[in-house]
């Protein structure tokens, strides 16, 4: 006997599961969301069932980006044919057609043998219905040789948008460099430095991986940014879901930040996501940002560096949206809003604590 006579547990669980199925489907409206909230509010039994089912459903999402066991891929044959055609097209389009891959990066050959992480699923690679022509044993020469990684870089203050062979688009921030390797089995981008925003074309047969130092982000069909400035590495997801280091899935609003040996995960509200991505439209957004950090960020975009001369002003907080290409304007705003003097020199801009003589009454 349950605590709610007339609402047997079975019916409640079935209802909760139906809500979850509909919630994630197309055509879910605000009215539907309100109805769900109302249903949840009706009784703690509803909430229990929903929380419990939702917990498992959410965790199952971590499998996104992994490869399905062979018996779950009814369309694998057709997709494989398409892949071969696509791989051939990629090989024809690249002007670097070598039989030995670039030794500076291993990803092309390495990924052919790794593919999607087959070790995770209890299905040996031999059962994958891939024609022998595409499966490459270590040491063998690929029949469709992997093209050498393509390198793209931006100078300080520059920005660049690159269309990749698979339909993905990468927007490079200032002072950034990536190396792109794509073949019939995988798509990999190495972020050597800087910041890049990835809009990944959906290709379930070829997960899209971004590697920044030891961090690996795998996407299926998403939009996200990866940042690597010195030892600071972070990921922000704008759309869809990515998998970080095989360790966890990040969805829209999710962010991962590498701190030493740890990876810290957090959720950002949409406005915050926009803030971290405003560089794509040439704007830098600061909110309660210490002056030192803001200056460091501006300095990525400008060869004329901001130099803080007085330690006392380094932690003053500022906020606002600034054009990344206009460091002088930024310095002027600093003078107007903080007790800071800016001296504009040919090769740098010096920031000092406003002297007593020149300080205006607040």
């Amino acid at each position: 006997m349950t605590t709610e006579p007339g609402h047997p547990r079975e019916a409640v669980e079935a209802a909760a599961a139906t809500w979850i199925a509909r919630r994630d489907a197309a055509g879910w409206t605000a009215a539907d969301a309100a109805a769900l909230e109302a249903w949840l509010a009706e009784s703690p039994g509803h909430r229990v069932a929903y929380y419990r089912l939702n917990a498992a459903w959410e965790r199952a999402g971590r499998l996104q980006g992994t490869r399905a066991p062979s018996r779950l891929r009814p369309l694998a044959i057709a997709a494989t044919v398409l892949l071969l055609i696509a791989a051939a097209l990629v090989a024809m389009r690249t002007d670097l057609f070598r039989s030995t891959p670039d030794t500076s990066t291993q990803p092309a050959v390495a990924n052919v043998t790794e593919a999607a992480p087959p070790a995770i699923l209890p299905v040996p690679p031999e059962t994958t219905p891939m024609p022998a022509a595409v499966r490459v044993e270590p040491g063998a020469v690929a029949l469709s040789p992997a093209p050498r990684p393509q390198r793209y870089a931006t100078a300080i203050g520059a920005s660049r948008s690159v269309a990749l062979a698979d339909g993905s688009r990468v927007t490079l921030d200032t002072d950034s460099q990536i190396r792109v390797s794509m073949d019939g089995l995988s798509r990999t981008v190495h972020l050597d430095r800087g910041q890049a925003y990835f809009e990944v074309a959906k290709d379930e047969q070829r997960p899209f991986a971004v590697v920044a130092d030891r961090l690996r982000v795998v996407a299926v069909g998403t939009a996200f940014s990866v940042r690597r400035v010195a030892t600071d590495i972070r990921v922000v997801v704008a759309e869809g879901t990515v998998r970080v280091d095989d360790d966890g899935a990040l969805s829209a609003g999710g962010t991962a930040h590498v701190e030493g040996d740890d990876v810290k995960i957090a959720e950002l509200p949409p406005a915050e996501v926009e803030r971290t991505l405003s560089w794509r439209s040439g704007m830098l957004t600061f909110r309660h940002t210490p002056l030192a950090a803001a200056a460091d960020e501006f300095n990525r975009y400008s060869t004329r560096k901001l130099v803080i001369r007085d330690a006392s002003i380094a932690s003053l907080e500022l906020g606002g949206v600034f054009r990344s290409s206009d460091v002088e304007a930024f310095a002027q705003v600093l003078e107007g809003t903080l007790p800071v003097d800016a001296v504009i020199l040919p090769d740098r801009i010096e920031l000092t604590a406003r002297s007593a003589l020149s300080s205006a009454p607040p």
Binding site: A17, P44, Y51, A56, Q64, I120, G221
Partner: protein, 183 residues
């Protein structure tokens, strides 16, 4: 090995419930199974226990979640036994003893995420064929229901039926005790 951890954000009751209560389901189910005749009773009482725990937690978060969970479980079993009035007194004493907590493995050991992915994959394999296909396509590959229906040559309503069943079976497998026959 890298550790992933969530930064501190205000904790919703849902998050608390998922993190602090549901993780004890294997132990709870094993405990209930010793006292109840059949699996349906176990699931009914499990649900009742959770409802009482959630109601209390929504008023005030209990400090020791696991202990609170098992206290509630014992109380509900005692109520039930008294209602049925056929259980001899010494069995009730069994329920009142705290030793039931000792032989259960604490779930604090963090499975590596590789292990968790392997486990999730195993759990999905246990679903009935159609359920599994639908759940995989919907949850892992993000295929819309309409497209799933087309690919499997079934009605959209049928896709939802399989999905609903799959969601429930997945939750039972995910939260419940490991089965001896796991591949």
């Amino acid at each position: 090995m890298r550790r992933h951890y969530r930064s501190a954000v205000p904790d919703s009751v849902e998050a608390w419930f998922q993190r602090e209560i549901l993780c004890h389901e294997p132990a709870l189910v094993r405990f209930l199974a010793r006292q109840l005749p059949g699996p349906a009773d176990v699931q009914d009482v499990r649900h009742d226990v959770y409802v009482r725990v959630l109601e209390a937690a929504e008023r005030e978060r209990p400090r020791a979640a696991r202990a609170f969970l098992f206290t509630v479980a014992r109380n509900i079993l005692i109520d039930r036994a008294r209602r049925n009035a056929i259980v001899p007194m010494d069995s009730l004493e069994d329920l009142e003893s705290p030793s039931v907590l000792k032989d259960d493995v604490t779930p604090e050991r963090q499975a590596s995420n590789r292990e968790e992915l392997q486990r999730l994959s195993r759990l999905l394999q246990r679903l009935p064929d159609r359920c599994r296909e639908v759940v995989w396509m919907r949850r892992v590959e993000n295929v819309p229901q309409k497209v799933i229906a087309r690919r499997l040559n079934i009605a959209e309503a049928t896709v939802e039926k399989h999905l609903v069943r799959g969601i429930r079976l997945l939750a039972d497998a995910f939260h419940g005790p490991e089965r001896a026959d796991d591949d």
